[in-house]
């Protein structure tokens, strides 16, 4: 956390909206990911690997390949979670308004929809074109009780890491594109993963 703050303080201001615009890409967009989750509930970091998919506004897919198999699809206001060979579970997004706001933001970010993004989040940017960081803080009060911020690290027009910082400081970091296949830093601490996102490699 301190590190991020100090980075922000020292960083030259970058135009966050231009960054979001630059992120816009051809549909569908797919990327492999490695997710590292740090939680107060866990005695160690939990790693998951799979594929992220952006299919257009309001349509997201996240497939977990290991350590378990799960496909989450968000489309038409409904979340469908399919685990292994079990019956898929469907939850209407309306039932979890916080989640809906969050996903709207996420989808707006991936789709480069600046207007939608600004409606739900306060957008801050820092760093340089080669090492930039976007921080999206929810403006919705209810969402704020669940999620502190959504953070994106990237270089150029490519995002490297998506970090979801929960209100209770639990963090889930998704490393995408080339970072997804990178060897994870050792020891696997939150600080080291954040450094990896910043630098674009896990080297010391």
């Amino acid at each position: 956390m301190l590190l991020i703050l100090s980075c922000l303080a020292n960083a030259a201001e970058v135009d966050p909206l231009a960054l979001v615009n630059g992120l816009q890409r051809e549909l569908p967009a797919r990327t492999a990911y490695t997710e590292v989750r740090f939680s107060q509930m866990y005695d160690r970091a939990v790693i998951a690997r799979g594929e992220l998919e952006y299919l257009g506004p309001g349509k997201l897919g996240k497939r977990v390949d290991s350590p378990y198999v799960e496909t989450t699809t968000i489309a038409d206001g409904e979340v469908t979670i399919q685990r292994g060979s079990r019956e898929p579970r469907r939850i209407s997004l309306d039932r979890i308004p916080e989640l809906e706001g969050f996903l709207r933001g996420f989808s707006a970010l991936l789709g480069g929809d600046v207007a939608a993004l600004q409606r739900d989040f306060e957008v801050q940017g820092s760093g340089s074109a080669e090492h930039w960081q976007l921080r999206l803080s929810p403006t919705d009060k209810r969402l704020k009780t669940r999620i502190e911020a959504l953070q994106v690290d990237g270089a150029g027009s490519k995002a490297r890491c998506f970090s979801i910082i929960d209100a209770d400081a639990d963090v889930s970091i998704l490393m995408v594109e080339e970072l997804a296949t990178l060897t994870l830093p050792k020891p696997l601490t939150q600080k080291n993963v954040e450094l990896t996102c910043r630098r674009g490699n896990s080297g010391p």
């Binding site: 509930m41 005695d43 939990v46 799960e70 039932r95 979890i96 999620i147 889930s172």
Partner: protein, 777 residues
Amino acid sequence: MSPRLRRWALLIGWVIVLLAVAVYTGHTLKLSTDLRSFMPPAQTPDQKLLMEQIGEGPGSRLLLLALSGDGEEQLAELSRRFSAALRQDAHFSQVVNGEFDAGLLDEALLPYRYLLTPSFDATPLDAATLADELGQRVEDLGSPAATLLKPILPRDPTLEIMKLAEQWSPPKQPLLRDGVWFSPEGEALLLVQTHAAGFDPAAQGEAIAAIESTFAANKAGSANARLVISGPGYFSVLVNASTRGESEWLGRISTVGFIILLLLAYRSVAVLGLAALPIASGALAGVAAIAVVFTEMHGITLAFGFTLLGVAQEYPIRLLSHRRAGETALESVRSLWPLLLTAIASACIAYLAFFASGVTGLMQLAVFTISGLLVAGFSTRYLLPRVLPPGFRDAADTPGLGRIWNWLEGLPRPRWLPPALLVIAALMLWSATTPFWQNDLASLTPVPKDLMQREGRLRAALGAPDVRYLLIVEAADAEGVLELSEKISPRIDALVEQGAVNAAELPSRYLPSLATQRTRQAALPDSPALAAMLADASQGLPFRAGLFQPFLDDVEKARTLEALSPAEFARSPIGARIEAMLVQRDGHWLGLGTIIGMQDPAAFDALARETDGAVRLLDLKGASESLVASYRERILHAFAIAIVLLVITVFIAFRDIHRAWHVLAPMTLATILVLAVLRAGGTSLSLFHLVALTLAAGLGLHYALFFERTTPDAAEARRTLHATLVCVISALLVFALLAWSSLPVLRAIGLTVSLGVGFHFCLSILMARKGRSRDAG
């Protein structure tokens, strides 16, 4: 004391007594608005239940609220603010708008979840189950739902709170948008249960006012938002207000007309005021009698009572019209008194029939009218003549009256007319195609069609329970009801599967029987065993040691708890529902299952047969109609007795079969004609028609009695005509106006009395007079 002084002293004394009685009754009498006290006494167990349920059942206490007029997001936000505020209001036992309510179970009741949940019935809570659940939690924490689950996870790793919340959510969930219920038309929906009974318009009125003011206070930011309220309670308030509003409005017009009529007839303001004294005395005496006998009076008794007391207006009018030169008012009244007394006595005896009905509301009506008529009659006889000013205009000299009299005298009176009318009436009665009786009381105070349609739409959108059907589960005690409810639950599920009903809610859905709870309790592992299972199950999972200590504590607590009783459960927010679903009556306990979307009531017959009726479907509409039908039978019996009593009274008064016949025949024929016209017009008869027929017959009795009277001279005959005309016109003024009302209940009374007054007047002239002239000849 001079006569003038004596007159004033008596008048002032009279008014003071009236004021004193008014003050006394104003202090002691309570006016009740609960419609049920005006309903027939319940006979069968189902009818008894109906009387309870009609006001207090879970269905009838529900109000359906819809918010519209703004964007979805704003409405959702308003719905949340609005329901949060309503939940603080003591008028309501339950407010739901679709929000996930983690506070469904009180903190203190949370450990009970292991007794309430069916999760571990098939597979026990063991290491394998736990390992499977914990594995799923790791996956959940990586899913979008993680932020929701995290706060409860250490305490509830198997998510029993969520499973219970799901089980307790309405069986037919409305649409959810932005986390709250919405209708397909885009209105935010709320369900509110009042503490007040559904058919107590006064109490419902308070609740509705509270809703409206809460809405006004919370709509900031959505200035265009509109609130629509629907539901039985709202309708009872609405119907009450519109009935009262319309009858007051019509009442004012007819009062003005009445004053003008009396001024025209008697040309004296003083007389106008004095003529009101007997009927005012009668009304006050009636109210005072009820205050003494019943202490509480029903609003309808008051309205009906004043209607029926309308007969008493005849008494002073007769006296005023029959005054003549050279005779004091006292002497005039003495010569009229035998006839007046016959009329008063026969009316009072007829109203005794209401007393025999056994319905509190009608008994009150009898006490009110009988004491009112007696006091009005006796004050006309003994007080009014002593306060009337000595000067007056002879009614016989009214211009034009002589001509009317001659014209009436000259009317042909064919002997075949009465039998011909009777035949026509019989044909009309026979040819009427509508049902003779109207058993659906609600149809008399109908809710406007568009509101009814909206109610249906909202009810369907909310999946709110049917108001018409209840599934009764009967047993010796609450535990028995819950056990039976658990037993038949699979059967009900099968009926839902078959499509006989869209959904049903049984009491055991909310609270399992004590037996089931104890079975579950016994199956829970003890603390060391559970800790070992947990350690076993956590192998290979990332959860930190000690994370699930709150879970271990809760299960241990659940092992030693007393099983949750309905009374205990009722204290939690969700428990309010079980409270409404379990009622004790006559040493029995009844579970009231709600039905949503009944498709095939007959499908429940088999269930009733197998359980010997312990589980049965109650059709509230059917029960209420059978109640009304059996009630009417009692009233008709009472009427039959009343008619016999009336005939005997008239015979005794006349001691002459011919004369009695000339009074009773036009009355009877006129009543039959009214019935025939109503029926030919497609009207099905109700209680209100019966009351109106009774009043008309009472008025008709007066007309016939006075026309039949031997008159010493032409002037006296003109006075009789004058009095009768004033009475007829004043009655028509009041009731013909009511007949134009938009409300069926007022129209029923107005039309029936107006028709009655017309027929009674015409037939009295034709038949009672004819008898006289023949006698004279």
